[in-house]
Symmetry: C2
Subunit: 341 residues, 2 copies
DNA sequence: CTGTTAGCGCCTTCAT
DNA sequence: ATGAAGGCGCTAACAG
């Protein structure tokens, strides 16, 4: 059974192939009656467009490329879900790759995406290599960097300030009377580094910063590593009275290890996570965490690409800060337990 | 700057475009010296193949389509990671969509994938609609169904028996002296239904089955819903002494709610999760869970597609059962605490 | 509003 | 082992 082409549909509806093409892509440019005839023929013959041919002829595909550093990090699954929900139903489709948090792997992946003339690119972070930036800048398609902010966008940035989020969280902990607050960081990707900067600057402001309160590892975050890092932390800084974690998994691990060591939270130890992935709020006690608008970021990035491809102009402000929200819970509430929920 | 094409590379190396094409795709069919010359020219000119043109001419793309029900479920991120790791470095790339656990959405998604003439398809589950099955069967590319087993594969199945996994888990709990074991199920997708079947058959075998021990919800699983469902369960069946959960999140939620209600685990309540996503093993006490080889499944599915496209024959047995492993931990150990770890 | 012409870059088939 | 011819299905650019 041969493939149904535009020519077939054209014959069926008594017009030429190009007219069918137009009727399908720019319905407003053909007469209403013809439009109906074409639609009927399409349905009757079961015509489905050939994307390869379309891409070849127009030098523009309907693929939106998304680069995330990891699939297994819930943060990025939420981004993907947000983007995918927005794109779904449109003519565009999503092609995803993970960079494994490697800027070099990313640099190798980008040209592979660009050769398919994508309708848009979404890429995680603002710390691409110069080569990657150059490729993307010359890509002739909307490019959205996500998950952070910066004053030097390639095209558009949609994210939140990891730095500011950390400042808020640590300010809150200081305000609640914590004085020896550790930073517990895993992976140490660029966004975690921003959080570390926010942490450090805040503690320095109060004269509370101490190198010994820094516990970091290049390993990926997990509940297990969280447990382990608390042990490490208490050896290095036994007088530590709280931790700001770069990640919820780590915070949950620390909370469980606190239970094990009969350290009460927040009385003996204050705890703040990052991302607010859901489990933190359910722990005993509930753990304070920084909520990040992951799905919204994915959705907004996708929306921008859709809009630009529909001919819309880019916004004045090329850096969209969707903000983060500190979810204050019992794990950091020492002073004013009655006032806050 | 104009695109570098095969013709350009041909001129540079003193041969025709088609020869360059061959040198690139079937290096063994051209003379070694020419091969080197072509490679040099490719590098010099920075030639990158045009996938759209290639797809159009050969009626075969290098895209491998993957359909998962959800991005946010860790199980599928692991599958994607496994597949993506296997495919990475090959000439193939991955295109992903989520069906939102809807067979109808899946039915709409499949033709969209098939029009791009994929090099292979990976699809979750064995319960596609007949229409989906028919499309896939006629797809002229390797098709792998994953995450379950069945004796009626479309092409290949790679997974494990959800039914058998549940049987093992529930057998273990019965053996450990639990008598009023609940089934706590979220989402109730086909694989969860299989687990329910295994649970039911096992309890019936011992005369322990009771409808009142069935707690299910169409909602997605989460720690929060786990907490909530324990409450529901204890109202319906106050004498319940344990739960087999279709999911780790739910098990973790139940464990936390047990803490809250001062129910000791496993003494007052036995608990078994599903998938062994990592947190279960870190809880206090550690929670028994069924480990499922998610990444391996993704990898094996991708490997099959790569191999078939390289001309390899399919295996005799079209259903590859990678098995599951019950990770026995303190949350279900009542009888023989010393014997097991 | 609709049609004609001429490719897009590559691969299949058939020669040599 | 290499090449020539032709076409994959669609769309840009230009008519009319």
């Amino acid at each position: 059974m041969k493939r149904v082409t535009l020519i077939d549909v054209g014959k069926e509806s008594g017009v030429s192939a190009i007219t069918v093409s137009r009727a399908l892509r720019n319905p407003e440019r053909v007469s209403p009656e013809l439009r109906e005839r074409v639609y009927a023929a399409v349905k009757k013959l079961g015509y489905v467009p050939d994307s390869a041919a379309s891409t070849l002829a127009s030098r523009r595909s309907t693929v939106i490329g998304i680069l995330v550093p990891s699939f297994s990090n819930h943060v990025f699954s939420d981004v993907l879900a947000g983007a995918s929900d927005t794109i779904e139903g449109s003519k565009y489709s999503v092609q995803i790759a993970n960079t494994g948090y490697s800027a070099l792997k990313e640099e190798a992946l980008v040209p592979r995406f660009l050769t398919m003339k994508p309708a848009g690119m979404i890429i995680t972070g603002v710390d691409q290599t110069q080569a990657t930036r150059d490729m993307l800048a010359g890509a002739d398609c909307p490019v959205v960097q996500i998950m952070d902010v910066s004053d030097d966008p390639i095209d558009l940035i949609v994210g939140f300030s990891n730095f500011q989020a950390a400042v808020e969280a640590v300010e809150h902990m200081v305000e609640q009377g914590f004085r020896r607050i550790a930073f517990v960081g895993t992976r140490m990707d660029p966004r975690t580094q921003q959080r570390l900067r926010g942490y450090r600057q805040t503690l320095e402001k109060y004269g509370l910063f101490d190198e010994r309160l820094l516990i970091t590892t290049p390993k990926k975050s997990s509940v297990e590593i969280g447990r382990h890092l608390l042990g490490e932390l208490l050896e290095t800084a036994p007088d530590c009275d709280g931790a700001f974690c770069n990640n919820d998994d780590v915070a949950v691990g620390i909370a469980l290890e606190c239970q094990n060591r009969n350290m009460r939270c927040p009385d003996d130890f204050g705890l703040c996570g990052f991302n607010d992935l859901g489990t933190t709020s359910q722990m005993n006690p509930p753990i304070t965490s920084v909520f990040t608008p992951r799905a919204d970021i994915g959705a907004a990035a996708a929306r921008y690409i859709l809009d630009r491809n529909a001919g819309q102009q880019p916004p004045e402000n090329r850096c969209v800060d969707l903000g983060s929200t500190l979810k204050v819970r019992a794990s950091t509430l020492r002073n004013d337990r009655k006032e806050r929920q």
